[in-house]
Amino acid sequence: MHLAYPAVLSALLFCTGLYGVLARRNAILVLMSVELMLNAVNLNLVAFDVWLSRAAEETLHSGQALTLFTIAIAAAEIGIGLAIVLAVHRNRGTADIDKLRDTAERHDSDGPDHDALAAERSDEDQKAEATA
């Protein structure tokens, strides 16, 4: 098999995931796009491992071992990521990453949740004063 087939498919899948990460607004859709990018990397690792295991005299099968590690790390990542998204949704009532702008530098806030954020920020300030 020509090596360009899996390599090109991997590059296209990676760029699809890149578009999804940049263009999506829901946090869970962003996590799905991250999974696409990780799978593109896995396909590259497997293809190059199969190629190099034939070309080299002796192989460690490092590509397939790293693929298994990547799959396990992706499983851990999706668990932690979903826990974070659910915690944010429980505290804020939304999972849109465009609305989570608390640490953004801005002087004029025109969002619809400005009042809630401001009240919460003052609460945070008072709590910080109280515990200090």
Binding site: A4, Y19, G20, L22, V46, H61, F69, A83, R90, K127
Partner: protein, 230 residues
Amino acid sequence: MILAASSATYLATGHTTGAAAQTHGFLSPTGVEIAFLLVGLVTFGAALVTVTTKQLVHAALWLVVTLGGLAVEYLLLTAEFIAWVQVLIYVGSVVVLLLFGLMLTRAPIGRSPDADSGNRWAALAVAVAAAAALVWVVVDAFRTTWIDLDGPAAGSTEATGASLFQNWVLPFEALSVLLLAALVGAIVLSRKAKAESSSPPVNAPATTKSSRTITESSGNAGRSEQEGAR
């Protein structure tokens, strides 16, 4: 256009570098290559639908098609153990977790018009530029490289297990510790915030101030629960 340009350069330089390529045949693909190409088209199309559809649950279901297509590609590359691990972990658990996440965040059934953010055209430009650069570099670099798929499978369960437990034992054990840490972290993150805030702070200087903190924080938690119910 890039493919055409690279194939033109290939034909131009083919007399010098194509000695090893003549045994394979550049424009006569084998059956495995045709199958890989067809499954790859399905996989790429499903990935495109995953990142562009407006219906959130449909995105998760198209992700199943993408991951299953990748498992078939692993089988075509004779990496059978990776293929079944892919089916078990990705299709079996990750997509189910994503569907649970969509359900718990009250994703709307049907089309949601605000699934894409405002900078999608900039994202499209970045993605197309990255795809063009990567495909050009990859095709140009591995123009005369073939994978030899004959003989015993390179990624059979026996070969993968032997290499994993002979050469990769220490990273494997470290990975189990990482999974334990991720499990504990997910449990800590998904505990109720009220249970954490009702415990008094450790370094509270006075009782009055700490009680004020408790009332404020419990009121904060109640309001956030109201927002969550809304």
